[in-house]
């Protein structure tokens, strides 16, 4: 009975174009943020922060990037992990080679590097579409990893060919503990998510979707196809790049290029498909699903069978169940978790009165 929009009238177009037109939604969102900032750092264990929440936020950001490109602008890409790699290694080198480089600046710069690379690999999209484009973007995936792996300079010629992220210091304050890292990640992700939401519901997003839905018509209306597509590639890659930088600095700490495999790219694409194509919320839900489900299964099975069952058996079953759940999910709700959430809300609005 509490989820009602009755009595809430939008009196100006400004109000109507708010992110959350419904008061309840606004409150819910603020409450959620408050919890995320104030409560979680204190109640969550190191395990939760380091192993679940931080990677979840980071991958939500990357999924967001993928969603901008694939969900909104309709360009199917499989290069996300590659762009993450660019971000990670760019950030490392900025911190390494520019002394006194502020961390946040380095992060932004590495995002820009990724954006540049993204534009380069986005060029084929001007001529290729659909699955062909998807396979073509694999070139980015493989080439980037190869190049980072091959040329020692990117890794400061570390004999083991890995980079070790420098400590995160902002305005003289070092972010060392899991809590601190979590908060910095949360801040960056929340900020970028807000920007993404603004673009998505603004003129920028309309241009993307126009190109996605009917590019000829879009052009006839004066929309620059090329610029819009490349812009989508750039922004998407920027998000992936920042995600990659955080992946290296706030999550793993030490990474090698081969950490950004094609498998990762696929999982990122999974995140938006499962979460909901062309929705901001979906990126978060999807990232959670794809990242946490296998962990949940593994914890569950080990809790149930412990050391009594051949662990190889458990691992195999985990894999099977994971794949099966994805398939079942795609069959049940091809529009993703975001749609499910939306439908539940619709029902809540009418509850308890059936229409």
């Amino acid at each position: 009975m509490f989820y009602r929009e009755a009595g809430q009238f939008r009196t100006s177009y400004g109000q109507d174009s708010q992110i959350f037109p419904l008061r309840q939604d606004r409150f819910a969102m603020l409450a959620l943020l408050a919890v995320a900032v104030v409560v979680i750092p204190y109640i969550a264990s190191d395990y939760w922060l380091r192993a679940l929440l931080i990677p979840w936020l980071i991958f939500s950001l990357v999924a967001l990037g993928q969603n901008i490109l694939t969900g909104y602008a309709g360009q199917l890409s499989l290069g996300s992990a590659g762009f993450m790699a660019v971000g990670a290694f760019a950030c490392y080198n900025f911190m390494l080679r520019v002394d006194g480089m502020p961390f946040l600046v380095a992060v932004v710069l590495s995002g820009l590097c990724a954006a540049g690379v993204g534009i380069a690999f986005g060029l084929p999209s001007l001529r290729i579409r659909g699955l062909y484009l998807a396979v073509a973007t694999l070139a980015a995936q493989f080439f980037i990893v190869w190049a980072l792996d091959k040329f020692g300079w990117f890794k400061n010629n570390d004999p083991s060919g890995v980079i070790t992220a420098q400590p995160i210091v902002i305005l003289g304050y070092a972010f060392n503990t899991a809590q601190e890292k979590y908060l910095i990640v949360l801040a960056i992700v929340a900020g970028l998510a807000l920007l993404a939401k603004n673009m998505a519901r603004g003129a920028t997003g309309r241009a993307w979707m126009a190109v996605r839905d009917m590019d000829v018509a879009a052009e006839v209306m004066g929309l620059p196809l090329m610029r819009t597509k490349l812009q989508a590639f750039a922004i998407s890659s920027f998000y992936c790049g920042v995600g990659g930088a955080l992946f290296a600095f706030a999550y793993l700490g030490t990474v090698e290029p081969s950490a950004f495999t094609i498998d990762l790219s696929f999982r990122i694409l999974f995140m938006i498909i499962i979460g909901g194509v062309g929705t901001i919320l979906g990126s978060f839900l999807g990232a959670g699903f794809i990242l946490l489900l296998p962990i949940f299964l593994s914890v569950l099975f080990h809790a149930v069978f412990g050391q009594t069952v051949d662990a190889s058996l458990i691992s195999a079953v985990e894999l099977i169940v994971f794949g099966a759940l994805i398939i079942i999910f795609l069959i049940v709700e091809p529009h993703g978790l975001a749609r499910m959430w939306q439908l539940t809300k619709e029902r809540l609005r009418l509850w308890p009165f059936p229409h």
């Binding site: 062909y132 998807a134 073509a136 794949g323």
Partner: protein
């Protein structure tokens, strides 16, 4: 060794690897042609097929028995996938379908390792993976017997498939389906039956590819990665053309070997991982629909 002769050997070697890629790509094409699904699970199917085959032989089944059993198994797998994964997803967006097949990959990999274990096995087809003596002695060319064998098998496979498509009733139906699902339905072609059939066939194709790859580099998980080798072949050949993938396979094989041998050393080598994809992009910029793919006509 003489420059040209070496070049020749690189070329031939490349072409023969190309055949191996094409064999894997073939499975993709069949399914995409018939049902518009880009079946990423093909790689896993190759792995599963080979593994099951040696598995049955380990259980004591002789070659002549293990083969039909595995064929049946793969056909069944194909039918199962069509029935329980893709039919419920019919008319979904191509990305959704692609994703479903990737999910399928996990399932198949899991089942394979659950049923047959993770041990690496070897598969002996009785053909030596050694250079043809007389070629080596006379021409100084080192061409492995198994590569020749693979090429022959591939040729036979393609020939049979094209015969099936062009001569038989089913084949004509399939072509109709490939051209236009709705139309095919309207003239009373049993779409579902055709799909099921194609999935079964692609399962068998996977088995053939799996056995040849398995004989070369052992039956093991790494076989799932052969799918990656097939992707550039697919874009160049076009998702819908059987002759396309064969030609494209040869192109990719030859090109990547030549590149690795002649360009590779100057940039530190290992460029095989991405070179085919770059090649594919260049190709697409010229022919967005691939070598033999149907031209995409888009009207205002």
């Amino acid at each position: 060794m003489a420059g040209f002769q070496f070049f020749l050997e690189v070329l031939v070697g490349g072409l023969l690897s190309g055949v191996m890629y094409a064999l894997v790509a073939l499975g993709f094409v069949l399914i995409y042609k018939a049902s518009g699904v880009f079946n990423f699970a093909q790689g896993a199917m190759v792995f599963f097929a080979a593994l099951s085959f040696v598995g049955f032989m380990e259980l004591g089944a002789p070659f002549w028995l293990a083969l039909p059993i595995t064929i049946g198994l793969m056909a069944l797998l194909g039918l199962g996938i069509e029935r329980f994964v893709l039919r419920p997803l019919v008319n979904q967006h191509e990305i959704t379908l692609l994703m479903a097949t990737i999910g399928l990959t996990f399932v198949i990999e899991g089942v394979a390792q659950l049923v047959w274990g993770v041990e690496v096995r070897r598969l002996d087809l009785g053909i030596k993976d050694q250079p043809l003596p007389w070629l080596a002695d006379n021409a100084g060319l080192f061409i492995s017997q198994i590569d020749i064998f693979a090429a022959v098998v591939a040729a036979i496979l393609v020939a049979t498939l094209s015969l099936v498509f062009s001569r038989t009733k089913v084949g004509r139906a399939l072509r109709a389906v490939a051209d236009d699902h709705a139309a095919a339905l309207s003239i009373g072609i049993p779409l579902k039956r055709i799909w099921a059939l194609v999935w079964a066939i692609s399962g068998v194709v996977a088995l053939v590819a799996g056995m040849l790859w398995g004989a070369r580099s052992g039956v093991q998980f790494a076989l799932v990665f052969v799918a990656l080798k097939a992707l550039p072949v697919l874009i160049i050949g076009g998702f819908t053309s059987v002759p396309g993938v064969i030609v494209a396979g040869l192109i990719v094989g030859a090109a990547e070997k030549l590149a690795e041998v002649y360009i590779g050393p100057s940039v530190g080598g290992g460029i095989e991982s991405w070179f085919p994809y770059v090649l594919a992009i260049l190709f697409l910029l010229v022919r967005p629909e691939g070598l033999f793919g149907e031209k995409i006509i888009r009207r205002v």
